[in-house]
């Protein structure tokens, strides 16, 4: 089977990888590009642990064929921090203990970042609905919701302060 060569932009950098026609984008990210932040929880689009952004919209990378990524722009959890400076979402997740085992965290961070880009001041209900596709079996969600609310406030302040 001839492999497909895919050119794409991941976290701002152009990169190329080879994949089988039915390789998932999640598998290509993890095995070809060694970006292991995105996790496979269910492999069926239910848990959100593999959430990435694809051309600016969050999707489950387990439900994208790697070949579909040709010419697209991808953002993963590895691209959220700027160098060693954590994103306010990451800082607040740590402060509020919004993770225990951490397996779901990359997906929550990417999904929450996508929410705050579209809606800088979401209500608790809006946050809960937006994150309904991300499952966490440890925290009971309340800590995650609080971390997102605080990060949203941080980002609003950054924006007005700038």
């Amino acid at each position: 089977m001839q492999k497909i060569l895919v050119s794409t932009t991941v976290n701002g950098e152009t990169c190329e990888f080879a994949c089988e026609p039915d390789t998932s984008l999640l598998d290509a990210l993890r095995t070809e590009l060694r970006l292991t932040g995105s996790k496979e929880g269910c492999g069926s689009g239910d848990c959100g642990a593999c959430t990435i952004s694809l051309d600016g919209e969050m999707v489950c990378s387990c439900l994208v064929l790697a070949a579909e990524a040709q010419g697209r722009t991808i953002g993963t959890v590895e691209g959220i921090a700027e160098g060693s400076a954590l994103h306010p979402l990451q800082t607040r997740f740590l402060e509020h203990a919004a993770l225990q085992c951490g397996f779901c965290t990359p997906g929550f961070l990417v999904a929450a970042k996508s929410l705050l880009e579209k809606n800088p001041d979401p209500t608790e209900t809006e946050i809960r609905y937006w994150l309904a596709g991300n499952l966490c079996r440890c925290t009971g969600y309340d800590k995650i919701i609080r971390a997102v609310q605080h990060a949203a406030a941080d980002l609003r302040q950054e924006r007005t302060g700038a």
Partner: protein, 287 residues
């Protein structure tokens, strides 16, 4: 893993050629059903034909006073089209009850229709709206009602080589609107136990025309003409709504399964259709 191939044709003709030459070729648009089914071994695509690079299959445009929605347009894209949301709010809501935001950013209108799940949320709303679809195939293009696409759970009436290019919504007449409601045991991320879509046109407080679509109560989504007939010519008073509910329940042929019993589904379909009719009426009156 398999010997599947992947193709991203740029034209309808190229896609038809690929689909015609391989009986195991499958359209991939959002992939939220197909990839899950392939991974579980329920389908074995010989070729993935990605239609997202075909311009006619992507995006929403004005068409004959209504709208043409490319079959590969994701559900969330509908929310960003103000004129579509104003004309067919129930249809847009139905498409945006499916799965999570992640799923709706990929899941498409054409895929929800052609996956042919009896519980597909957008399909009863499309039926209520009187939607049609443009089908392309080896013998050219044809336009058929949305109701003609699903033929049984997981099966469509499409011939080999055919695919749905776009879904067309008619012009919304003055005084017209729609609504869709579904029952699930939780608030998000579940599959409809019952779905009911109603579109109607009100004139001076009287219902001039109506269409009622039901999901998850039969092997395919249903158009219930007797339910619509019970509304037409009335002010949607209790007698008319009762009669509509009876017609809805009479049309239900549901199964018992882990999501709900047949009797629950039959009862709830009437309740949801009644509520959807009142929402559609209020929306129509607010215009």
């Amino acid at each position: 893993m398999t010997s599947a191939t992947y193709h991203a044709p740029a034209s309808i003709a190229e896609a038809v050629g690929l689909l015609s030459s391989d009986p195991a070729a499958r359209i991939i648009a959002g992939g939220t059903d197909l990839i899950v089914q392939a991974r579980a071994g329920r389908v074995k695509p010989g070729a993935y034909v990605d239609i997202k690079r075909i311009s006619a299959a992507i995006g929403i445009r004005s068409f004959e006073g209504g709208f043409a929605i490319g079959a590969a347009t994701p559900c969330t894209a509908l929310l960003e089209h103000a004129a579509l949301c104003a004309a067919w709010p129930g249809m847009v809501e139905a498409a945006n009850l499916i799965g999570s935001v992640q799923v709706r950013n990929r899941a498409t209108m054409g895929g929800n229709l052609c996956n042919a799940s009896p519980a597909a949320d957008s399909v009863p709303a499309l039926i209520a709206a009187g939607a049609t679809c443009l089908v392309a195939g080896p013998s050219g293009e044809r336009v058929i009602p949305v109701t003609d696409i699903p033929s049984a759970p997981g099966r469509t009436s499409l011939a080999q080589g055919e695919f749905v290019v776009e879904i067309r919504l008619p012009a919304q007449p003055s005084g017209g609107s729609d609504a869709y409601l579904r029952a699930i045991p939780r608030t998000e991320m579940d599959i409809a136990v019952v779905g009911a879509g109603v579109s109607l046109v009100m004139d001076g407080g009287v219902c001039k025309s109506a269409r009622v679509g039901l999901g998850a109560v039969a092997p395919t989504a249903l158009l219930v003409e007797a339910a619509a007939a019970a509304l037409i010519g009335t002010t949607l008073d209790d007698n008319a709504l009762d009669a509509m509910g009876e017609a809805v329940s009479a049309a239900c042929k549901p199964i018992d399964d882990k999501r709900g019993t047949a009797s629950y589904r039959t009862h709830t379909a009437a309740v949801l259709a009644r509520r959807a009719a009142l929402i559609a009426r209020d929306r129509a009156g607010a215009k």
